[in-house]
């Protein structure tokens, strides 16, 4: 049963990814991406990562996608405007064909690498039911990975300052 659910959700995630690319309006892209993220969250849950599924929904679907929606609505880009290219014939130009070839090559390389990767076989009775123990993750984050943890917090501070600088309206230039 859960195997069938996994393959069903994989298809849903891939369809959501396709929807991001071929949707006419950016609003449709955002909603397709949300579908893909929710499907991936359930895939995480099935694979034994309950905490990562919750993080996926809270951070990705809850915070990052809201940021995208906010900017799209702020700039008033949500409609089926004609300013978006690729609405009629997505793969007509030679540039799009080249892009499709590159993407297919990347995907094929990934498939071959995944096929040839020397993964250890799953133990008898399948993988562990629950892999991401929150206590163990916290011990790892504040112990072995405390230096990357601090680097990432510094990154967040720098990001905050950078966003303020970039998005702040400069009085002199906006008056022109």
């Amino acid at each position: 049963m859960s195997e069938f659910l996994f393959y069903l959700l994989s298809v849903i995630a891939l369809v959501g990814g396709l929807g991001v690319i071929f949707s006419k309006s950016p609003m449709g892209s955002v909603l397709s991406l949300l579908l893909s993220f929710f499907a991936l969250a359930v895939v995480y849950l099935l694979a034994g990562f309950a905490f990562m599924a919750a993080v996926q929904i809270l951070v990705y679907a809850g915070a990052i996608m809201v940021l995208f929606l906010f900017v799209i609505m702020l700039l008033n880009l949500g409609g089926m405007g004609t300013r978006f290219e690729l609405s009629a014939a997505p793969l007509s130009s030679s540039r799009a064909k080249l892009a499709a070839v590159v993407a297919a090559g990347v995907g094929l390389a990934g498939l071959i690498a995944a096929q040839r990767a020397s993964l250890p076989a799953l133990p008898e009775g399948g993988a562990p039911e629950r892999i991401d123990d929150i206590q163990q993750i916290a011990i790892a984050l504040f112990g072995r990975y405390s230096l990357p943890f601090q680097a990432v917090s510094l990154l967040l501070l720098v990001t905050m300052v950078a966003v303020l600088v970039l998005a702040k309206r400069r009085g002199k230039e906006s008056a022109q």
Partner: protein
């Protein structure tokens, strides 16, 4: 779930290829940023699949979830800076197409 971990990697490769395709094809900057998010999600899935395939009931491998958390943090920072750049571009050009910023084209 008794699905082999390779199939998680296959899903990850598919999502990453879709992200690459969208990033190269779409000219709308916001949609291109969404495709970057899709690629980062594929990377997360690959980390978790590797962690799953190396985990045993008595010895869990937690490097996958830990690195996924770092990737999610970087993705959030990337989205914030990218969207701030989109707002700055829109203010300058009244457009969010990549073709509208071509002053430095050689």
């Amino acid at each position: 779930m008794n699905v082999p971990s390779e199939h998680l990697f296959f899903l990850s490769a598919g999502l990453f290829a879709l992200g690459v395709l969208g990033f190269l094809v779409r000219r709308n900057v916001i949609v291109a940023l969404m495709c970057v998010e899709l690629m980062l999600n594929a990377a997360n899935l690959a980390f978790l699949a590797a962690s799953r395939s190396h985990s045993r009931a008595d010895a869990l491998d937690l490097q996958g979830p830990v690195f996924s958390i770092f990737v999610i943090t970087v993705a959030a920072a990337e989205a914030a800076v990218g969207l701030a750049l989109v707002i700055a571009l829109y203010r300058l050009k009244q457009s969010v197409e990549t073709d509208s910023a071509s002053e430095m084209k050689g």
